[in-house]
């Protein structure tokens, strides 16, 4: 947010405070969360396979538990890779954020505190996801290569714990968007005293990039 004074003339920031029309970080978040949660979910399904066997038989879906472990492993690797970009995009967009400072979130935090916690949490989660991937890799290729159950119960439990952390972390991110209106064009127009209903069609047609001067 401090950076915007210097960067605005350099980057040609649009009405949303970014040099492009739609924020990138929230889109990469879909991939990070989807891949991580699915990875743990499929490993749980694999570990409980003996219980589910009759269900898959009833549905006439041929299954081996090693298929599910493959999903658990490859989804986790993909989550680890993509999350570097998620965090990088997040830091770039947080640097350009100009949230209102006179309000608090539903959790009673100001914009600055919310951004700091969301930034710290992002780095922490990146570390945890990478650590989980390495742990998972050791289980798959070294420690439990010839075991029927490829993952330790403690790994699955750690995954569920990270879900809780992700929920809290994601809620902070939601506060930045839906409460503080960070990088949301309409919210920024409203706070600048403009009516988005009148302005948006005009902005979209003329290109958001050009409209930095309006604010």
């Amino acid at each position: 947010m401090i950076a915007t004074d210097i960067l605005t003339p350099l980057l040609g920031l649009g009405a949303n405070g970014l040099p492009y029309g739609l924020p990138i970080h929230p889109n990469l978040v879909h991939l990070t969360l989807g891949l991580f949660i699915a990875a743990i979910a499929f490993d749980i399904v694999a570990a409980l396979y003996p219980l589910e066997k009759p269900i898959f038989k009833f549905l006439a879906i041929p299954v081996t538990s090693s298929n599910f472990y493959d999903v658990g492993w490859f989804n986790m690797v993909a989550a680890a890779v993509i999350t570097f970009f998620t965090v990088a995009a997040g830091f770039y967009e947080i640097l350009l954020a100009e949230p209102p400072m006179d309000m608090t979130s539903p959790w009673g935090l100001g914009a600055m505190d919310t951004m700091i916690w969301h930034g710290v949490g992002g780095v922490l989660l990146l570390g945890l996801i990478v650590a989980m991937t390495i742990w998972r890799g050791f289980q798959r290729y070294v420690w439990r290569e010839d075991r029927a159950r490829q993952v330790q119960w403690s790994y699955l439990l750690a995954g569920l714990g990270i879900f809780v952390l992700m929920f809290a972390h994601g809620t902070l991110g939601a506060h930045l968007a839906a409460d503080f209106g960070v990088h949301i064009t309409a919210d920024r127009l409203i706070r600048a005293g403009l009516n988005p209903n009148g302005q948006l069609n005009l902005l979209i047609k003329t290109g958001l990039i050009e409209m930095g001067g309006l604010l």
């Binding site: 949303n16 029309g21 739609l22 924020p23 929230p26 889109n27 978040v29 879909h30 991939l31 969360l33 989807g34 891949l35 949660i37 699915a38 979910a41 499929f42 879906i61 041929p62 298929n67 599910f68 493959d70 999903v71 490859f74 989804n75 993909a78 539903p106 994601g170 809620t171 939601a174 968007a177 839906a178 409460d179 209106g181 990088h183 949301i184 064009t185 309409a186 919210d187 409203i190 706070r191 009516n195 988005p196 209903n197 009148g198 948006l200 069609n201 979209i204």
Partner: protein
């Protein structure tokens, strides 16, 4: 009458704290796109194990999209879109419902392919993947606009709308 059974609407115009549709769509967006990536890598490296990964991701995505639509309809119904936002919301709704049918059909097709020849994918399926990518990316773009341009369900827009300032 139904309104009386729900908690009162908050400052996001929702009966619960935050929008749920954007959370549930994690599991459609990530799973479909990753399935397509796995199909691509599996196709060129001839690694049939990755086809299993994409199949199960498609199953997960197909189940998720119906849950995404349920929350999407609830939240679209409570979005009170202003005139500038209405047409994109309508198109997002139309494509979303269509996508549920497309995804279910593709996953059903994949089920049969997996039974008959689990180690290979026909060119036609790869072409379908390309088309699916285009539809999904366009749908994400529309959903992004609803949140990040029009700010539906954000505090500022809800407040301005309630005050009648978005005519």
């Amino acid at each position: 009458m139904l309104q009386n059974l729900l908690p009162p609407l908050n400052n996001h115009n929702l009966p619960y704290p935050d929008t749920l549709h954007p959370i549930v769509v994690h599991f459609v967006i990530a799973m479909v796109l990753f399935a397509i990536v796995c199909d691509g890598i599996g196709y060129f490296t001839k690694n049939a194990r990755l086809y299993e990964v994409s199949w199960w991701n498609m199953v997960f995505a197909t189940i998720s999209i119906f849950i995404a639509i349920i929350f999407g309809q609830i939240e679209a119904g409570l979005a009170t879109p202003y005139a500038a936002a209405a047409s994109d919301l309508n198109l997002h709704t139309l494509i979303g419902w269509s996508l549920s049918g497309v995804l279910a059909a593709v996953t059903g097709w994949r089920y049969i392919l997996r039974l008959r020849s689990p180690d290979s994918l026909p060119m036609a399926y790869m072409g379908m993947n390309a088309l699916l990518t285009v539809i999904v990316v366009f749908q994400i773009y529309l959903g992004d606009k609803l949140v990040w341009v029009y700010g539906l369900h954000t505090e500022a827009v809800v407040e301005a709308g309630r005050a009648g300032l978005l005519q």
